[in-house]
């Protein structure tokens, strides 16, 4: 993808920043994450195509923020992000009480993009088809990932 970094930044930075702010809930961390997103995209720009960069940036921003949430999850002074807990609550309301402590285990052995799929479907209100297009998977693949996540959550809840 051939691009002028300054023009690219001017066009997309506010959108990426809003996405990061929404997931991280903090302006300082969101700006750091936004810069990480642009570094990733600009580093690999020769390998990217230029169709709808907003979709690519949205996906990278989502993954970057989820990685940051995982990294800071256990640092008390950074606060306690609620987003993943909300996801678990939406997935299965009965699991609410166990969700917070179980979330790390829930996503731990899953492919890296499973959490992003869950966020897009359950938090961003994307349909399965829209999620599939976003992450480059089949609809049935997305459905299977979410079903596996739900089953895992049920299994964890049933565990004594």
């Amino acid at each position: 993808m051939s691009l002028d970094p300054a023009a690219f930044y001017e066009t997309y930075a506010p959108m990426v920043l809003r996405r990061c702010r929404k997931l991280l809930g903090d302006d300082h961390h969101a700006r750091d994450a936004m810069h990480d997103v642009f570094v990733q995209v600009l580093t690999h720009r020769a390998e990217l195509d230029d169709r709808a960069p907003s979709s690519l940036l949205f996906r990278i921003a989502t993954n970057t923020c989820l990685n940051r949430l995982r990294s800071r999850k256990r640092r008390p002074e950074d606060g306690d992000p609620d987003l993943l807990a909300q996801i678990a609550a939406v997935t299965d309301p009965a699991a609410r009480s166990a969700a917070r402590s179980a979330l790390d285990a829930l996503f731990r052995h899953e492919p890296a993009d499973t959490a992003a799929i869950a966020v897009m479907h359950l938090h961003d209100d994307m349909t399965l088809e829209e999620v599939a297009a976003e992450v480059g998977m089949s609809v049935s693949g997305v459905r299977k990932r979410l079903a596996k996540l739900r089953a895992k959550l049920h299994g964890m809840e049933a565990r004594p």
């Binding site: 970094p5 300054a6 023009a7 930044y9 001017e10 066009t11 997309y12 930075a13 506010p14 959108m15 920043l17 809003r18 996405r19 929404k22 810069h35 990480d36 642009f38 570094v39 990733q40 600009l42 580093t43 709808a52 960069p53 907003s54 979709s55 949205f58 970057t64 990685n67 940051r68 990294s71 256990r74 640092r75 008390p76 002074e77 950074d78 402590s101 790390d104 285990a105 731990r108 052995h109 961003d124 209100d125 994307m126 349909t127 829209e130 297009a133």
Partner: protein
């Protein structure tokens, strides 16, 4: 609250919503227009406060550093591939040399067993109790909710990363702060230093094991974490050392979880 999802409004505002016509058709046009207008106002405010020029210059510096890092990584991978391909021939050569020159170990240069589990590097864990903290001996029993503060000493090596694994296979990076940090961010101070963050144990079973990996050169954080993640998936994760390339030192500290939480 708007029924228009943010991501859809963002793409309409950027004129990149051609793939989402069906979804747009299901939204309230007035709401969508208001949402898009609000985003464009926010864009203008953001770019007035943070113009693209200085940000792009800062990004260019980081992108150049990242490209150098990736190039060095590719070069290391190529060397590793070469080393594996040459492995069989090298074994024969070393055996011949050992016969003629005595022990091959004195030949110098890095070897796989340069990875040392022991050394001057040290990890020390403290459990916080209000304003005070107790140092935790290896295999101390800790519980979910305990707040742990780590201190470390790099043992004279200039670079390091600190990560932990738990009995559920989870991996947490403690230093540097982010796994996308460049290798230079693994620089460690001399002396004994506390991590800037305490952290809270979760309910993972069996154990929590901390690793300090050190080296004389900047460490690729992703490579270091890959070794930690590989061990975390193994059955002997509570006891086995990390599999690291030559030139790295590792030390670990294990804390136990109660049998019945």
């Amino acid at each position: 609250m708007s029924s228009v999802p943010d991501w859809l409004a963002e793409r309409v505002a950027l004129d990149e919503a051609a793939a989402h016509r069906a979804r747009i058709a299901r939204t309230d046009p007035r709401e969508l227009a208001e949402h898009v207008a609000a985003l464009r106002d926010d864009n203008a405010r953001e770019l007035a406060a943070h113009p693209a020029g200085p940000a792009a210059a800062e990004l260019a510096t980081r992108v150049a550093a990242e490209q150098r890092r990736l190039a060095a990584r590719r070069q290391r991978a190529a060397w590793r591939g070469l080393a594996i391909a040459a492995g069989g021939a090298a074994c024969v050569l070393v055996a011949v040399l050992a016969v003629h020159r005595g022990t091959a170990e004195r030949a110098g240069g890095p070897r796989a067993d340069d990875t040392r589990v022991k050394g001057a590097a040290r990890l020390i864990a403290y459990r916080q109790h209000g304003d005070s903290a107790d140092e935790l001996a290896p295999d101390t029993v800790v519980r979910a909710g305990d707040v742990i503060q780590l201190r470390y000493r790099s043992g004279g090596r200039r670079y390091g990363i600190i990560a932990s694994i738990d009995g559920a296979g989870g991996v947490t990076l403690h230093f540097p702060a982010d796994e996308s940090a460049p290798p230079e961010a693994t620089a460690m101070p001399g002396g004994t230093t506390a991590l800037p963050h305490a952290y809270q144990l979760d309910d993972a079973p069996r154990f929590e094991r901390f690793f300090l990996i050190t080296a004389d050169d900047p460490i690729d954080v992703q490579d270091g974490l890959a070794a930690v993640r590989a061990l975390a998936q193994r059955d002997d994760a509570a006891d086995a050392p990390l599999e690291l390339p030559a030139g790295f030192t590792q030390t670990s500290l294990r804390l136990r979880k109660p049998e019945s939480p």
